[in-house]
Symmetry: C2
Subunit: 323 residues, 2 copies
């Protein structure tokens, strides 16, 4: 028993030493700035920023977080200036708009602040690490799932996002998959601007134009809501299934509950801001990633567009989030 007591004493001493080390750590100050929003994808960003801060506060003693939302690019520039006055060590930013935010973030970087840029990149390489979603991946995973679900046969319609690089990357990757399935025809592809109302209007138009539609790719869950409303109001029953995108809780819930019309979703996760916050914490703690043969964190991480189906939907369902 003496041996055991000795071991326990050693464990105790070791634990106390660890605690002492923890308390001796320098204070780390991390600023987080994101667009303000109370609904939709950016609402999810606010939720996940709060969530990550809660998680890290529970796990660490020496980190002070400053979370600031901004309702315009100009406001966000001021926010970054304020955060610099607060002497932050690291800045995590989901930029309202790339161009107007780049100069102030560059200034922060030149002052030695570690910069994590999330989702919307900056126009100069001033970030230490860039964390983003996978837009071609979203199109590809969506296309592959739909083609499989259609057994390679069918007439589909597409509702695109706002015409921009992100939308082009998604749509081109989707079309590239469909080129491999000669039995599938994309009858129409129009911009619905990631808007529920516009989704409703475009879908009403498609339903008038085409007597038979086998499946719909809405690319976005907000658009999908408008699309589903138009389909319901039409009274038709020819469409086999619909696919949105991003992973909103309402749509994930439908998938989880075994909806016949909405059987899958593909992530473009607002939780990317939470991953970005983790990267800032790890950089400040001098950590690299587990399994990486590097001394520092990567400079760029593209998060996977993950396929959500009935089998795994509960892992993607966050009832407390607004999105």
């Amino acid at each position: 028993m003496r041996k055991i007591a000795l071991i326990l004493t050693l464990v105790l001493v070791f634990s106390l030493t660890l605690s002492a080390v923890t308390f001796a750590q320098d204070e780390i100050r991390i600023g987080v700035t994101i667009p303000s929003a109370d609904h939709g994808w950016t609402g999810g960003v606010v939720y996940w920023a709060q969530q990550a801060i809660k998680d890290w506060e529970a796990k660490t003693d020496n980190i002070t977080f400053f979370l600031e939302t901004a309702d315009s690019p100009a406001t966000q520039v001021s926010v970054v200036e304020d955060l610099m006055i607060k002497e932050i060590d690291a800045l995590v930013i989901l930029a309202h708009d790339s161009a107007p935010l780049t100069p102030v973030v560059k200034q922060a970087s030149e002052e030695g602040i570690y910069v994590v840029s999330v989702d919307r990149g900056l126009t100069e390489p001033v970030a230490d690490i860039y964390v983003a979603g996978d837009n071609p991946g979203l199109g590809r995973v969506s296309g592959e799932w739909m083609a499989k679900e259609l057994n390679g046969e069918g007439d589909i319609v597409v509702l695109e996002g706002i015409p921009c690089v992100i939308n082009t990357q998604r749509v081109e990757a989707f079309e590239k998959v469909m080129e491999q399935y000669p039995g599938i025809t994309i009858m129409d592809s129009q911009p619905a601007n990631w808007s529920t109302q516009k989704g409703l209007e475009i879908m009403e138009n498609y339903l008038q134009k085409y007597d038979k539609i086998d499946a719909v790719w809405a690319q976005d869950d907000d658009v999908l809501k408008g699309v589903l409303q138009a389909y319901e109001e039409s009274g038709r029953d020819d469409i086999k299934f619909f696919l949105g995108g991003a992973g909103s809780k309402d749509i994930v819930k439908m998938v989880m509950e075994g909806s016949d019309l909405v059987r899958a979703d593909v992530t473009y996760p607002p939780s990317m801001i939470a991953t970005g916050i983790s990267m800032a914490v790890k950089a400040m703690q001098g950590e690299t990633l587990d399994g990486f043969y590097q001394n520092e964190l990567p400079s760029e991480v593209i998060l996977r567009a993950e396929l959500i189906t009935e089998e795994n939907a509960e892992n993607y369902y966050f009832p407390d989030s607004v999105f």
Copy 2:
């Protein structure tokens, strides 16, 4: 003491349970294929592939690795076919050449094999995850360090790599940094093809052409060796410092030992293959990365071009590696 004995018993039971779980795991088969080489950067790739396999074999009981080098694209195609016959679950590939390898890797992917592509991408998006070095980052970090070391003043010469996308990314990022320093002039920039011999020749030429050179960016440690030889043979002493790139052990050793002429290096790490192998293991174990708010691994990771100086060089010095 009874309480302690109970706790220890519980710990023991828990440990035994864990062991049982470990033994009950399915066998995982991971194939790794890389270009064969006994020197230079690809020699480092061979070393790091072996190293990562050793590390994971020490940490796990249920993974069988197959490491196959290939001396040509055609051989590597056969290697991948052989690995498929060996019923691998995951394939980690540093492709000899992108185009000839893409069809067979696509076939592997279609058979359900998880594909990790390292460094040289494939021409179609058939990899589940892409792990690569940061070429613009290498140019940028090199430029920033040199500009600082020159206090923004000086005449420099550049030795480029083989004219190709990678070289262009590095050189453009380097030049972009230098544009911010009007006191620095890039007098010349010629391709040295990442070759020691060509580095020697170009540098001899530069030394004849320019009476005064303040610093040299060789972009690559193999080239730097030729450059240093030419400089030594010239008997001149005007050049303040030289910067290579990639992080070979000979050059890192010079940095570590406080060389006056070679004070830094920038990584383009052959250990990226080891990180790629870790990603395959983690994917097979159903793990994500620590601190990531995702259910799966990222789809793309760009590893940082890390700055090596006398202060941190020992973390980058691997005497057992051939590179």
